[in-house]
Amino acid sequence: MQEFSSWLTEANLPMVEDLDREFEARLAESSTLAFRVAYGVLRHREDAEDVAQEAFAKAYRSFRTMRERDRFRSWLVRITWRLAINRYRSNKRRLAREQVRREVRFQPNAADSVAVNERHARLWKAIDALPEKLRIVTVLAGIEEHDLREVALLLDIPEGTVKSRLFLARQRLKELLR
Protein backbone atom coordinates (compact mmCIF):
# COMPACT_ATOMS: atom_id res chain seq x y z
CA MET A 1 0.00 0.00 0.00
CA GLN A 2 2.84 2.36 0.86
CA GLU A 3 4.52 1.54 -2.44
CA PHE A 4 1.29 2.37 -4.25
CA SER A 5 0.91 5.73 -2.53
CA SER A 6 4.54 6.61 -3.23
CA TRP A 7 3.97 5.67 -6.90
CA LEU A 8 1.03 8.08 -6.95
CA THR A 9 3.20 10.87 -5.60
CA GLU A 10 5.95 10.19 -8.10
CA ALA A 11 3.50 10.14 -11.01
CA ASN A 12 2.31 13.64 -9.93
CA LEU A 13 -1.34 12.72 -10.39
CA PRO A 14 -3.66 15.58 -9.44
CA MET A 15 -5.84 15.28 -6.36
CA VAL A 16 -9.26 13.76 -6.91
CA GLU A 17 -10.98 16.92 -5.65
CA ASP A 18 -9.19 19.08 -8.25
CA LEU A 19 -10.25 16.69 -11.00
CA ASP A 20 -13.83 16.69 -9.78
CA ARG A 21 -13.88 20.46 -9.75
CA GLU A 22 -12.44 20.62 -13.24
CA PHE A 23 -14.93 18.06 -14.50
CA GLU A 24 -17.79 19.98 -12.91
CA ALA A 25 -16.68 23.08 -14.85
CA ARG A 26 -16.62 21.04 -18.08
CA LEU A 27 -20.08 19.68 -17.33
CA ALA A 28 -21.44 23.19 -16.83
CA GLU A 29 -19.95 24.51 -20.08
CA SER A 30 -20.67 21.47 -22.30
CA SER A 31 -23.94 19.96 -21.09
CA THR A 32 -26.08 21.87 -23.60
CA LEU A 33 -23.69 21.03 -26.42
CA ALA A 34 -23.79 17.29 -25.66
CA PHE A 35 -27.57 17.33 -25.37
CA ARG A 36 -28.04 19.19 -28.66
CA VAL A 37 -25.66 16.86 -30.50
CA ALA A 38 -27.64 13.86 -29.24
CA TYR A 39 -30.92 15.61 -30.03
CA GLY A 40 -29.64 16.32 -33.54
CA VAL A 41 -29.63 12.55 -34.14
CA LEU A 42 -32.48 11.30 -31.98
CA ARG A 43 -34.93 14.19 -31.95
CA HIS A 44 -36.36 12.92 -28.69
CA ARG A 45 -35.67 14.81 -25.48
CA GLU A 46 -35.51 11.87 -23.07
CA ASP A 47 -33.39 9.71 -25.36
CA ALA A 48 -31.08 12.66 -26.05
CA GLU A 49 -30.65 13.28 -22.31
CA ASP A 50 -29.95 9.57 -21.69
CA VAL A 51 -27.28 9.50 -24.38
CA ALA A 52 -25.71 12.76 -23.20
CA GLN A 53 -25.62 11.39 -19.63
CA GLU A 54 -23.90 8.24 -20.84
CA ALA A 55 -21.37 10.34 -22.74
CA PHE A 56 -20.56 12.35 -19.61
CA ALA A 57 -20.24 9.15 -17.55
CA LYS A 58 -17.74 7.81 -20.10
CA ALA A 59 -15.96 11.15 -20.12
CA TYR A 60 -15.62 11.09 -16.34
CA ARG A 61 -14.12 7.60 -16.36
CA SER A 62 -11.47 8.68 -18.88
CA PHE A 63 -10.99 12.21 -17.55
CA ARG A 64 -8.09 11.45 -15.22
CA THR A 65 -6.02 9.80 -17.93
CA MET A 66 -7.03 12.19 -20.71
CA ARG A 67 -3.82 13.72 -22.02
CA GLU A 68 -5.27 16.87 -23.55
CA ARG A 69 -8.12 18.02 -21.38
CA ASP A 70 -8.52 21.21 -23.38
CA ARG A 71 -9.83 19.04 -26.22
CA PHE A 72 -12.57 17.78 -23.95
CA ARG A 73 -15.39 19.39 -25.96
CA SER A 74 -14.17 17.83 -29.19
CA TRP A 75 -13.90 14.42 -27.52
CA LEU A 76 -17.34 14.81 -25.97
CA VAL A 77 -18.96 15.75 -29.28
CA ARG A 78 -17.50 12.70 -31.02
CA ILE A 79 -18.46 10.27 -28.29
CA THR A 80 -21.98 11.72 -27.96
CA TRP A 81 -22.53 11.54 -31.71
CA ARG A 82 -21.33 7.92 -31.80
CA LEU A 83 -23.56 6.93 -28.87
CA ALA A 84 -26.53 8.74 -30.40
CA ILE A 85 -26.04 6.97 -33.74
CA ASN A 86 -25.83 3.61 -31.94
CA ARG A 87 -29.00 4.37 -30.00
CA TYR A 88 -30.77 5.49 -33.19
CA ARG A 89 -29.82 2.25 -34.95
CA SER A 90 -30.86 0.08 -32.03
CA ASN A 91 -34.18 1.95 -31.79
CA LYS A 92 -34.69 1.37 -35.50
CA ARG A 93 -33.93 -2.34 -35.16
CA ARG A 94 -36.27 -2.60 -32.19
CA LEU A 95 -39.04 -0.87 -34.10
CA ALA A 96 -38.44 -3.17 -37.09
CA ARG A 97 -38.67 -6.20 -34.80
CA GLU A 98 -41.89 -4.92 -33.30
CA GLN A 99 -43.11 -4.55 -36.89
CA VAL A 100 -44.39 -1.05 -36.24
CA ARG A 101 -43.89 1.16 -39.25
CA ARG A 102 -43.03 4.47 -37.73
CA GLU A 103 -40.71 7.27 -38.68
CA VAL A 104 -38.11 8.52 -36.23
CA ARG A 105 -39.99 10.08 -33.37
CA PHE A 106 -40.01 13.81 -33.56
CA GLN A 107 -41.48 15.62 -30.63
CA PRO A 108 -43.16 18.74 -31.95
CA ASN A 109 -42.98 21.73 -29.70
CA ALA A 110 -46.41 22.39 -28.26
CA ALA A 111 -45.79 26.11 -28.22
CA ASP A 112 -45.10 26.27 -31.97
CA SER A 113 -47.80 26.43 -34.58
CA VAL A 114 -48.74 23.41 -36.66
CA ALA A 115 -47.12 24.95 -39.74
CA VAL A 116 -43.86 25.55 -37.94
CA ASN A 117 -43.85 21.98 -36.61
CA GLU A 118 -44.48 20.62 -40.07
CA ARG A 119 -41.66 22.70 -41.50
CA HIS A 120 -39.34 21.45 -38.76
CA ALA A 121 -40.38 17.85 -39.38
CA ARG A 122 -39.59 18.20 -43.10
CA LEU A 123 -36.23 19.77 -42.28
CA TRP A 124 -35.31 16.92 -39.93
CA LYS A 125 -36.25 14.37 -42.55
CA ALA A 126 -33.99 16.13 -45.04
CA ILE A 127 -31.12 16.29 -42.53
CA ASP A 128 -31.57 12.56 -41.86
CA ALA A 129 -31.16 11.87 -45.55
CA LEU A 130 -27.68 13.47 -45.61
CA PRO A 131 -24.56 11.29 -45.45
CA GLU A 132 -23.10 11.15 -41.94
CA LYS A 133 -20.15 13.50 -42.55
CA LEU A 134 -22.43 16.19 -43.98
CA ARG A 135 -25.04 15.61 -41.29
CA ILE A 136 -22.70 16.12 -38.37
CA VAL A 137 -21.29 19.31 -39.87
CA THR A 138 -24.82 20.62 -40.43
CA VAL A 139 -25.90 19.80 -36.85
CA LEU A 140 -22.79 21.27 -35.23
CA ALA A 141 -22.95 24.39 -37.37
CA GLY A 142 -26.56 24.83 -36.28
CA ILE A 143 -25.59 24.37 -32.61
CA GLU A 144 -22.61 26.72 -32.79
CA GLU A 145 -24.56 29.38 -34.75
CA HIS A 146 -22.41 28.67 -37.78
CA ASP A 147 -19.08 29.54 -36.20
CA LEU A 148 -17.06 27.43 -38.63
CA ARG A 149 -13.83 27.77 -36.67
CA GLU A 150 -15.53 26.27 -33.62
CA VAL A 151 -17.02 23.45 -35.69
CA ALA A 152 -13.57 22.70 -37.13
CA LEU A 153 -12.14 22.52 -33.59
CA LEU A 154 -14.91 20.24 -32.40
CA LEU A 155 -14.48 17.83 -35.31
CA ASP A 156 -10.70 18.19 -35.44
CA ILE A 157 -10.75 18.88 -39.18
CA PRO A 158 -9.56 21.90 -41.17
CA GLU A 159 -11.87 24.88 -41.45
CA GLY A 160 -11.81 24.59 -45.24
CA THR A 161 -13.18 21.05 -44.99
CA VAL A 162 -16.01 22.28 -42.77
CA LYS A 163 -16.84 25.01 -45.29
CA SER A 164 -16.94 22.66 -48.26
CA ARG A 165 -19.01 20.02 -46.43
CA LEU A 166 -21.44 22.64 -45.21
CA PHE A 167 -21.81 23.98 -48.72
CA LEU A 168 -22.56 20.52 -50.08
CA ALA A 169 -24.98 19.82 -47.23
CA ARG A 170 -26.91 23.02 -47.90
CA GLN A 171 -27.14 22.26 -51.62
CA ARG A 172 -28.61 18.84 -50.86
CA LEU A 173 -31.00 20.17 -48.24
CA LYS A 174 -32.31 22.81 -50.63
CA GLU A 175 -32.97 20.13 -53.22
CA LEU A 176 -34.75 17.90 -50.71
CA LEU A 177 -36.85 20.72 -49.30
CA ARG A 178 -37.93 22.05 -52.68
Partner: protein, 179 residues
Protein backbone atom coordinates in the same frame (compact mmCIF):
# COMPACT_ATOMS: atom_id res chain seq x y z
CA UNK B 1 -35.25 28.63 -49.98
CA UNK B 2 -32.09 30.70 -49.63
CA UNK B 3 -29.03 30.04 -47.47
CA UNK B 4 -30.01 32.51 -44.75
CA UNK B 5 -33.47 30.99 -44.37
CA UNK B 6 -31.98 27.50 -44.22
CA UNK B 7 -29.39 28.56 -41.64
CA UNK B 8 -32.10 30.18 -39.58
CA UNK B 9 -34.33 27.09 -39.71
CA UNK B 10 -31.48 24.74 -38.73
CA UNK B 11 -30.50 26.94 -35.79
CA UNK B 12 -34.14 27.11 -34.75
CA UNK B 13 -34.68 23.33 -34.65
CA UNK B 14 -31.49 22.88 -32.65
CA UNK B 15 -32.12 25.69 -30.15
CA UNK B 16 -33.46 23.27 -27.57
CA UNK B 17 -32.10 23.07 -24.03
CA UNK B 18 -31.85 20.05 -21.75
CA UNK B 19 -34.21 19.87 -18.78
CA UNK B 20 -33.11 21.78 -15.64
CA UNK B 21 -32.45 18.47 -13.81
CA UNK B 22 -30.10 17.19 -16.50
CA UNK B 23 -26.83 18.27 -14.86
CA UNK B 24 -27.99 16.93 -11.49
CA UNK B 25 -28.80 13.55 -13.07
CA UNK B 26 -25.34 13.41 -14.64
CA UNK B 27 -23.76 14.06 -11.23
CA UNK B 28 -25.93 11.38 -9.61
CA UNK B 29 -24.97 8.85 -12.27
CA UNK B 30 -21.27 9.61 -11.93
CA UNK B 31 -21.50 9.30 -8.13
CA UNK B 32 -23.30 5.95 -8.47
CA UNK B 33 -20.63 4.67 -10.91
CA UNK B 34 -17.88 5.78 -8.51
CA UNK B 35 -19.51 3.86 -5.64
CA UNK B 36 -19.83 0.70 -7.75
CA UNK B 37 -16.22 0.84 -8.85
CA UNK B 38 -14.99 1.37 -5.25
CA UNK B 39 -16.99 -1.62 -3.97
CA UNK B 40 -15.83 -3.87 -6.77
CA UNK B 41 -12.19 -2.72 -6.28
CA UNK B 42 -12.29 -3.66 -2.58
CA UNK B 43 -13.90 -7.02 -3.42
CA UNK B 44 -11.15 -7.69 -5.93
CA UNK B 45 -8.51 -6.87 -3.28
CA UNK B 46 -10.05 -9.26 -0.73
CA UNK B 47 -10.52 -11.98 -3.33
CA UNK B 48 -6.84 -11.64 -4.27
CA UNK B 49 -5.88 -11.87 -0.61
CA UNK B 50 -7.97 -15.03 -0.24
CA UNK B 51 -6.48 -16.50 -3.41
CA UNK B 52 -2.95 -15.74 -2.16
CA UNK B 53 -3.67 -17.48 1.16
CA UNK B 54 -5.02 -20.51 -0.66
CA UNK B 55 -2.00 -20.61 -2.96
CA UNK B 56 0.32 -20.40 0.07
CA UNK B 57 -1.54 -23.27 1.77
CA UNK B 58 -1.35 -25.40 -1.37
CA UNK B 59 2.39 -24.71 -1.71
CA UNK B 60 2.96 -25.69 1.90
CA UNK B 61 1.10 -28.93 1.31
CA UNK B 62 3.28 -29.61 -1.72
CA UNK B 63 6.45 -28.87 0.26
CA UNK B 64 5.46 -30.98 3.25
CA UNK B 65 4.39 -33.95 1.13
CA UNK B 66 7.81 -34.18 -0.62
CA UNK B 67 9.94 -37.09 0.67
CA UNK B 68 12.61 -35.96 3.17
CA UNK B 69 16.03 -35.89 1.65
CA UNK B 70 18.65 -37.91 3.41
CA UNK B 71 21.71 -35.93 4.09
CA UNK B 72 24.87 -37.80 3.29
CA UNK B 73 27.32 -37.77 6.10
CA UNK B 74 30.54 -35.95 5.46
CA UNK B 75 33.12 -38.12 3.75
CA UNK B 76 35.39 -39.82 6.23
CA UNK B 77 39.06 -39.12 5.72
CA UNK B 78 40.84 -42.38 4.99
CA UNK B 79 44.31 -43.00 6.37
CA UNK B 80 46.77 -43.48 3.55
CA UNK B 81 44.98 -41.15 1.15
CA UNK B 82 47.05 -38.31 2.59
CA UNK B 83 49.74 -36.85 0.36
CA UNK B 84 53.07 -38.64 0.54
CA UNK B 85 55.12 -37.44 3.48
CA UNK B 86 58.51 -35.98 3.12
CA UNK B 87 61.59 -37.49 4.73
CA UNK B 88 61.39 -34.95 7.60
CA UNK B 89 58.26 -36.63 8.97
CA UNK B 90 58.67 -39.12 11.82
CA UNK B 91 58.98 -42.74 10.87
CA UNK B 92 55.80 -43.92 12.56
CA UNK B 93 52.71 -42.10 11.02
CA UNK B 94 50.21 -40.68 13.50
CA UNK B 95 46.71 -42.19 12.84
CA UNK B 96 44.23 -39.50 11.68
CA UNK B 97 41.02 -39.30 13.62
CA UNK B 98 37.95 -40.33 11.61
CA UNK B 99 35.47 -37.47 11.55
CA UNK B 100 31.78 -38.29 11.13
CA UNK B 101 29.20 -35.63 10.32
CA UNK B 102 26.16 -35.56 12.58
CA UNK B 103 23.17 -37.38 11.05
CA UNK B 104 20.50 -34.87 9.97
CA UNK B 105 17.11 -36.35 9.10
CA UNK B 106 14.89 -33.24 9.47
CA UNK B 107 15.54 -29.55 8.91
CA UNK B 108 16.14 -27.56 12.05
CA UNK B 109 12.87 -26.37 13.58
CA UNK B 110 12.85 -22.69 14.33
CA UNK B 111 9.24 -22.33 15.46
CA UNK B 112 7.42 -23.21 18.61
CA UNK B 113 6.96 -27.02 18.71
CA UNK B 114 3.28 -26.65 19.62
CA UNK B 115 2.72 -24.34 16.64
CA UNK B 116 4.61 -26.74 14.42
CA UNK B 117 2.44 -29.63 15.59
CA UNK B 118 -0.73 -27.65 15.00
CA UNK B 119 0.39 -26.72 11.49
CA UNK B 120 1.30 -30.34 10.74
CA UNK B 121 -2.21 -31.38 11.79
CA UNK B 122 -3.67 -28.72 9.49
CA UNK B 123 -1.60 -29.97 6.57
CA UNK B 124 -2.53 -33.59 7.31
CA UNK B 125 -6.16 -32.52 7.41
CA UNK B 126 -5.85 -31.07 3.90
CA UNK B 127 -4.02 -34.17 2.63
CA UNK B 128 -6.65 -36.49 4.09
CA UNK B 129 -9.41 -34.25 2.71
CA UNK B 130 -10.80 -33.56 6.16
CA UNK B 131 -10.36 -29.81 5.57
CA UNK B 132 -11.84 -28.22 2.43
CA UNK B 133 -9.57 -25.33 1.41
CA UNK B 134 -12.18 -23.89 -0.98
CA UNK B 135 -14.46 -23.24 1.97
CA UNK B 136 -11.83 -20.97 3.47
CA UNK B 137 -12.22 -18.63 0.50
CA UNK B 138 -16.00 -18.68 0.90
CA UNK B 139 -15.67 -17.82 4.60
CA UNK B 140 -13.26 -15.02 3.71
CA UNK B 141 -15.67 -13.68 1.10
CA UNK B 142 -18.63 -13.70 3.47
CA UNK B 143 -16.65 -12.02 6.18
CA UNK B 144 -15.60 -9.18 3.90
CA UNK B 145 -18.91 -8.77 2.04
CA UNK B 146 -20.30 -6.24 4.43
CA UNK B 147 -17.08 -4.26 4.55
CA UNK B 148 -17.48 -0.72 3.38
CA UNK B 149 -14.46 1.37 2.87
CA UNK B 150 -15.21 5.00 3.25
CA UNK B 151 -13.23 7.84 1.81
CA UNK B 152 -11.07 9.83 4.11
CA UNK B 153 -12.59 13.28 4.24
CA UNK B 154 -9.75 15.75 4.14
CA UNK B 155 -10.26 18.89 6.17
CA UNK B 156 -10.27 21.90 3.84
CA UNK B 157 -7.43 24.34 4.39
CA UNK B 158 -9.94 27.15 4.92
CA UNK B 159 -11.18 25.47 8.10
CA UNK B 160 -7.72 25.57 9.70
CA UNK B 161 -6.98 28.53 11.93
CA UNK B 162 -3.93 30.50 10.87
CA UNK B 163 -0.88 30.22 13.12
CA UNK B 164 -0.13 33.61 14.70
CA UNK B 165 3.54 34.24 15.31
CA UNK B 166 4.14 36.98 17.81
CA UNK B 167 6.95 39.36 16.90
CA UNK B 168 10.11 38.94 18.95
CA UNK B 169 10.63 41.52 21.63
CA UNK B 170 13.19 44.09 20.62
CA UNK B 171 16.79 43.18 21.47
CA UNK B 172 17.32 46.63 23.01
CA UNK B 173 14.70 45.99 25.64
CA UNK B 174 16.32 42.67 26.58
CA UNK B 175 19.95 43.76 26.64
CA UNK B 176 19.41 47.40 27.58
CA UNK B 177 21.81 48.69 24.93
CA UNK B 178 22.35 49.12 21.21
CA UNK B 179 23.61 46.37 18.92
Amino acid sequence: MNDDQLKHDIEEVLSIDPSPEFAARVRTRIAANKQCSRTSASRVRWSLAGATLTAAAVMLVAVVSEPAETVMPYPVSIAGAEPKVEEELPATPVPQPIRKAPKVSEPEVLINPRDAAAFRKFVEGIQEHRIDVSQLIELQRRATESLTIEDIALMPLDALEPIVIEPLPSVRRIEGGSL
